[in-house]
Each structure stands twice: as C-alpha cells, then as structure tokens.
Subunit: 424 residues, 2 copies
C-alpha cells in the first residue's frame, strides 16, 4: 500500500477576487494526485493553525468538482484571513533548548501539522504571507521536518517582487478601468466645467491607480491625470496640471493613489486630517483633500469618489485571465511540493513572443526573494511629467484584464459560494 | 403624398443606466412609423432647444439598427442633460401681449420647434423634467399649437408618482444589491468585530437604499440595519440597534440613505460638516458621520463606503428587465403621441396576476400628476422599528433587477456608444 500525506492550505492578508481561484487550484490538483490523502484548510490563516481550527475541505465542499467552479469566481476568502507575524525562527529554535516546556508558535504549529499528518503546506497571500512561508520553512529545516512549505502569491496591489504580476491585480484593474470609463460617461452629461477626483487603493505602489488608464477609449481620455505614490506629489504642480487640462476639456477626471505623498514623505491624506464637531480627527483621504483644494483654488464643480473595498471584492467584473492564472498557480504549487520543493514561491513569468502576444509560464523561486519586499512601478512606466503612465505600462497591463468568467445569477445577483463556516 | 412630421427627443436630470434605452425605443418606433420624418435630438435637454443645438439622430447614429442595441446598454445620457426650470407659461403668455418684441423661453422654443417641423416632443427625465413637459404642453395649448408633448419617466430614485416604478431604478438597485453582497463577503474574512456603513443615494426617498436588502442570501443577512429618509433618524437609537446586532454578528453592515435626517429636519450629513485645516467646511456625508460615531461610542473597527456615482452609471451590471421596460416606454410614447396624446406621461402599471408572477402594462396619465411631486416609500414597506424593510418591499423590488443584458467587451472593458458629440 502506497503512503499518502495530507495537504494544509490557508489564505492570508487582504482579499482579492482571485484568491479563491488559487484555493480551487490546490484542491483540484490535490484531488488528482494519488500521493495526497486529505486536503485540510485552516480557518483564518496561520491563526487558525495555532487554534487547531482546521477543516476537511472535501467534507466542507463535497466531492462534486463543479462546486470548485463556483469557488473559483467567489470574492473574498473562503477560508478567512489573518494578519499575524511570526517571530524569527532562529530565536524560537534557540528557546527550545533552555526552556523546553514553553510552547512557542513554531512548536505549536509543527505539533499540529504532525498530528494532522500534513506534508504539504500552501499559503496564499502577499508579502507578509510570504514571510510566514519563509519562516516556517526555515524553522522546519532547523528541526529536520519533512514538511514542505510553498507560497502562492496574491494581492490587488501587484507589489510582489519576482512574479510578473500578482493574481488579484488583473481583476481589481478590470473593476477600476470599467468604473473609470463609466464615470467618464457620467461626468459628461452637463455642459458645465467639472473635475472628478477618483481615489484608488495602493499605499506604496501605484499599479492599481495606473490601471485606470485602461479606461481610455476613442471617446474619452479619462483619466486625464494620474498621480502615483512613486512620484512626490505637489499641490501647486497638481493645480498647474489641472488648469492645463481644463483648458482643453470640459470634464477632467483625476486618478489618485490613496498613498500619494509630498517630497517630505507626508501623505496627502494625512494633510487632509479633519476635525468633526466634537474635535475628533477624521481622515477624508487624498481624494477628499484634493477636491477641497480644487474647490478653493479653482472654484469649479468638483466631486471626489473613493472606489474603496469594491476594488478588491467586485467579483462580478473579474478578469478571466486573472482567475485562470490564479487557479493554475494553485495547481502548480501542489505539483512542485510533491516534486520536493519547499521554501519556494510559485510565480508567473511573462514570455517574450515573436508576435508580441501575451503568454506566461509558471516557475518557482526562493520565497525569501518575495517576503517583506515591495515592487514599485518602474520609472519607464511613468510619464516624464509624473502625472500619467506610458505606453509600456499599457502593454504590460492590458492582457491582464481580458476575458469574462461565467457567473450564474439567482434573483438578479451573482451566485457565490457561501462562507457560513466563517464567523459572519 | 402623405404628410410626415418630425420628432424631437431630449433627456434631462441625473443619469441612469436605462435612460438611453428609452431613447433607443423612441428612435426605433419613430423609424418604424410612416407618419414620422426626421428624428432630432436636442443636446443638453431644453437648454439645447433654446440654443438650437439639435442633431439629426439618424445622421449621428447611422441607419444600422444594431447601433441602437449598443445605445440601449450605454450608461449616462447620449444627448446630455441640463437642469433648467421654465417659468410659468401663463406668465409668459401674458407677457406676449404688452411687449411682443421680448422673446421669452416659450416663444423661442416654439419658434425653433416650428422651424424644424416638430410635431412630437419627448422628454425623458424625472420630476423636474415632467414639469417642463407640463409647462410646454400648457403653453402650446394656450397658443393653439399642434405640437404634442409626452414625458418618459426615469430616475434611479424611484420617487416619481403614478408609475409603479421608474426606469433606471432597477439597474441602480441591481448594482447596490450586488455590491452590498460582495462587501458582505469582503467584511467576513477577519475574525474581529467590525462595522461597515454603506451610504446610498436618495435624498428624500429611501427606495434605492432599501434595495440593498436584495443582497440578503442564505449566507449573509447583510445589510443588518437599513435607515431611510422616510423615518426620523436618532443617533442614540442607531447605537442601540447596532449594539444589538453586534451581539449576534461578528460583522455588521449598515445601509444608510444620504438623506437621513433627525426629527427636527436636520440632515445627518449636515451634522457631520467638518472643517479642514484651513477652516473650510467639507461635507463627509451621513456614512462618514455615523462611522465616526461608532468609532467614538463603540470603538470597534469601522469603515464607511459611499457607493457614489457608480450607482447611476455602472451599466455593466444593469437589469435587463429595467432596460427592456425603458425601451418599451420610449416606443409606446411615440405610438401615443401619434394617436394624438399630449401633456401626458407614459408609465408602468403592475398587474395583479393569479400566480403572483411579475407583469406590467403601459398606460398614459396626465403629466401634471407626476410633475414636481415625490413618491416616498409607504410605511407598509418599512419595518416597525424603522431600521429595516418588509417582505412586501422585497416582493415589489425583486422582479425589477432580473436579467443580464448582453454586453460586448473590447480590451477587457464594456463597449458603449461614444458620446463624443457632447463637450467632453
């Protein structure tokens, strides 16, 4: 009788519309491999492991593979999330010798993994989650554990190094581009000068804000100005830029990252800290501040819109390319782990093709290369004036938002997989 | 040779995802009727008429009917909009006698309509637009004009009397319900108490905010609380309601109309007027204020989201029922005008059916019954506690969000009709 081992999979960090597609990929591949026994999921990431909150995913989802099609297109995180930072594994290992009775996080986690006969651990997340994969892998090596740890990337921010782009980014970009274009239509109806400021997520990297340029069509150049955290912001330059655009356009739309900051590092959103009537400070965001600046200095009709959490959960407008790649990453992670890989990250590598068509392959890298690191937009993708993107960026991003997933509707709203097993 | 007359059609008020469907209906019916010659559109509503900014719609759109399919699903207003209130027609008529050389708005409009050989005038809009139709019709009668004036309703607010519901409402409701459900998924991922306040459009009527209840599925009861302008708001009762929900739920979502107000009539959003660092007042909205209240009085994680203009322009998630009805209203308006109707409004009448299935018929009413009037939600659709809706409302609203229009995508974003003829 051949030996089988179990899988544990968990999700961590902020939600994306594609993170469940990677989970579906892990489950599909796990079910197809004869080496795999049970596929467990940890509820709320590594916190769930620490609390032994593990579920048998076949028990929870049933054996019917078509449920995985619904999981693939469902927003948020089927297994819930956490933000939990493990201490340095060397420190934990050293602690093992003098005071063996003290159970540190690592000992606790490895005890549980051993109890559940886990050989393969998959963590789907961003920079912080890759830190967890790296530390668990390192600790495992220090204690000669056979358990293999693989990271599967995701983040709407697209700020993970190594990978060409991150799952979740394409779907968020598609929502941003679609909404931006629809708002360009919306602002066009009155024959009165107007400015619309659209605030988009991204504290340190401008990838998602930049994707708003995908809204440009033969009808509208909106967004007419794009401000990213990669370039220092200046109120006065912004007003110069805007006045220039208002000369040629009746309606000007500005896309701005939540994380834009001045040369001294102060966030524009901090600058806009306001007091309510009780004297309590409230943050209105960069968009709100810029709208008030336009109102004061230019005086035309102005409105600010925050796309807010919809950017990461509007799964009804997901990119099929994004979902397919996310699922494939999940599958390949399983194959890689079975081959013997550990402390690695599965990632997307874009191929140079003769006809310029979009093609990716999947590869593994040392997870340490991605852990705790951020990839900002290169200067070659930002226009020299610092208020727009370049054609190079559009070539990079356009393939990522292609294709519509098939979504079933019931009572007029999309059918997603229930997550009643989480505390809701 | 039989005589033909021309059509003039215009749009007015705020945009909806269905208003172009009514325009498509007018054009389709106009093209099919042998009594009709040229179909003109006025750019930016009645203002465009006053400025002789009229376009031949067949010249602009071409003769290919398939373009009308794209027009039908395109957001915002193909002909642009205005907010322009005509003076009382009696006053204008009386002015005609003493000082004939002064050209008032009515004389100007009727001169232009006569120049263009217009017999049928269609105005697609809300309460204010129906006021324009009423006044033009009345003036025409006073001067024995043969021109017929018909109003075609639209507004995301659903606050027009006479009609069972307004075109545009179903599509906006579908966006609100879909987004609300997706946000319910989004908030569920962390195992930490949280409150999300979602601010929805509707200054005087709660119809659209109430539609957020369509997000409720077997997975989530979100929104857990719903506050409408029809019920006086109280900060202390809100905190009592919210604390109650937080006992049973990890994540509570509150839907609130932008127009909620206290018993003394003060808007909650006014209450939240804040000063920025320069001492300038900024409105953060009802949602922003309530989030700050929760932060101070309850202290849990809280966030506020304004759905903002996306509610009225997110055409990629339109209701097919809504678009079909809007188009049909446009067609029927033309038939009615040719039959001799004037100073009337075409509207939707819901039928009582034996099996309870949804069915509407189309009828005409005196436009004065809808002009300048507002339809609020009846008390029977609001739960006794004033913080939720009733089953009666759900039965009313659910049929309105059914069905998905066919949308073509190019480069990952929806293909809508260009509105380059407007000043953009």
């Amino acid at each position: 009788m051949s030996e089988t081992y179990n899988i544990l999979v968990a999700q961590s960090g902020g939600p994306t519309s594609a993170i469940n597609a990677s989970l579906a990929g892990v489950i599909r591949a796990g079910r197809a491999c004869k080496e795999i026994g049970t596929i467990y999921g940890a509820i709320n990431g590594i916190e769930g492991v620490l609390e032994r909150d593990l579920v048998d995913l076949t028990e929870l989802l049933g054996e019917d593979d078509s449920v995985l099609d619904v999981l693939k297109i469902s927003p948020a995180m089927y297994l819930g999330s956490c933000r939990y930072k493990l201490e340095e594994p060397e420190k934990a290992v050293n602690q093992l010798i003098p005071e063996y009775e003290r159970i540190d996080d690592y000992t606790c986690i490895f005890n549980i993994l051993t109890d559940y006969d886990i050989r393969y651990f998959f963590y789907i997340g961003g920079n912080d989650s890759m830190d967890t994969v790296m530390k668990l892998g390192k600790f495992g090596r220090l204690i000669d554990s056979p358990i293999r740890f693989i990271g599967i990337p995701k983040t709407i921010d697209n700020d993970l190094p190594v990978t060409d782009h991150t799952p979740g980014y394409g779907s968020a970009a598609r929502f941003v581009a679609t909404s931006m274009m629809e708002m360009a239509y919306d602002t066009s109806i009155y024959s009165i000068k107007s400015v619309l400021i659209v605030e988009i997520m991204g504290r340190d990297a401008g990838w998602l804000t930049a994707a708003s340029a995908l809204a440009r069509t033969s009808f509208s150049e909106a967004p007419h100005l794009i401000y990213l955290p990669e370039v220092d912001f200046s109120d006065s330059q912004f007003l110069v830029d805007l006045r220039g655009k208002l000369k040629d356009h009746e309606h000007v739309i500005v896309a701005v990252s939540e994380g834009v900051h001045y040369a001294d590092g102060t966030y524009v959103s901090m600058h806009s800290a306001q007091k309510d009537q009780f004297g309590h400070t409230m943050l209105s965001g960069a968009g709100g501040y810029l709208a008030s600046l336009v109102h004061r200095k230019i005086g035309c009709k102005v409105r600010s819109v925050e796309l807010n959490v919809l950017q990461r959960c509007a799964a009804h407008v997901s990119s099929l390319t994004d979902l397919n790649e996310a699922e494939e990453l999940g599958k390949r992670a399983v194959y890689g782990a079975i081959e013997g890989r550990s402390e690695q990250l599965i990632y997307l590598k874009r191929l140079e093709t003769e006809d310029g068509s979009y093609q990716v392959e999947y590869d593994f890298a040392d997870v340490a290369e991605a852990a705790n690191k951020e990839k900002k937009m290169p200067l070659s993708m930002i226009a020299p004036g610092g208020n727009d993107i370049t054609e190079e960026f559009l070539k990079y991003v356009r393939p990522l938002i292609q294709g519509e997933p098939t979504i079933e509707y019931q009572n007029g709203i999309p059918v997603y997989l229930s997550i009643k097993h989480l505390k809701v």
